[in-house]
């Protein structure tokens, strides 16, 4: 590959794959340092490039963060689908997706917060919105299965979608910020599935 020069050779002037390398470095630093201590200069340094190099590809820090968030949403969508067994009924599938949602958020708290920070990301970016829609679509389809035929034609977001998203997202957010009472293992005492079971309609 042109992107992988001889290991012993001097670092080439042109990186060859800077765009994706910066996103990956950003994702890695997000895990290590958290969102607050993340800096463009440090991401660039990790890739071995000057701190102004990202500008050519992303314009600004916000552009880079937007690209990172987009990749986050793609992985998020995959996490949602991960536990979905086609043989299960709509309720079981909902529970599985909800647990995937929360598991992803808790496994990658900094990335998750970035993904839902409208002032750090540019939600006008087509790539980001496409990735976010991909993730949202999983939840929306599950909501539709729970109430077939109730969505009005042309409706962008049903009440059931809003309700499900609110509860799952709220739980994940509160858990990540340390607001939910935690048991000895550090996890919240009530899992997200417990909440759904406590919710008569989907028990």
């Amino acid at each position: 590959m042109s992107a992988s020069p001889s290991p012993a050779g001097p670092r080439p002037y042109h990186h060859g794959n800077l765009k994706t390398a910066l996103v990956e470095a950003g994702l890695a630093l997000l895990e290590e340092r958290g969102l607050g201590d993340l800096s463009l200069r440090e991401i660039a340094a990790r890739v071995g490039v000057s701190h102004t190099a990202p500008k050519n590809h992303f314009g600004s820090l916000k552009g880079l963060l937007t690209a990172i968030a987009a990749e986050g949403f793609r992985r998020h969508a995959a996490a949602l689908e991960a536990g979905l067994k086609p043989a299960d009924g709509p309720v079981e599938r909902l529970h599985a997706a909800a647990e995937g949602y929360v598991r992803f958020a808790r496994a990658h708290p900094a990335l998750f917060r970035l993904m839902f920070s409208a002032d750090l990301c540019d939600f006008g970016d087509p790539d980001l919105t496409a990735a976010a829609s991909e993730s949202y679509g999983v939840l929306a389809r599950l909501a539709g299965r729970l109430e077939p035929g109730t969505a009005e034609p042309g409706e962008r977001q049903t009440r059931m979608e809003t309700l499900l998203w609110s509860i799952v997202h709220g739980y994940a957010t509160l858990a990540n910020e340390g607001q939910l009472a935690a048991g000895p293992d550090g996890a919240p005492v009530h899992g997200i599935a417990d909440l759904f079971r406590h919710w008569p309609r989907f028990a």
Copy 2:
């Protein structure tokens, strides 16, 4: 010389009420500039004081933000209680509190985000935790009224509390970050009360 605070006189060396003045300035700047563009130096400048003056009272920026968040939680608790009519039943009171929760979040988005940012605030601070508990208590009492006698003795956080808090907080957060489909007036098409009405148990 004169201790009289004549309006035309030179600014005294000692402010006299810096602590609360800084918190109020911070709250005002939070409304105007948002959380991202908030700076300790600007808060200090608005009060007319050097940028290191806050250190004496708050230690660091995090300390100041913690104090601001605590004041936010007190106002938040007041907003929750605002629409509560004693004559109403538990369900009506829940709806009113939920709308108060969301209304506060949407009216003060930057403050609301600060209040739930564990990396910006110090949730080990007693004043902050007391204020946050005050706000949480309103919701917890409402949850208890919905299911009297179900809480196990000594239970810190019931499932019902977690469920209600998740849905309300998730809705407020998603709305603030512009993630919920909005109608022509900019508000989400489905209000928080619509979600509760859609939730069979509390329709």
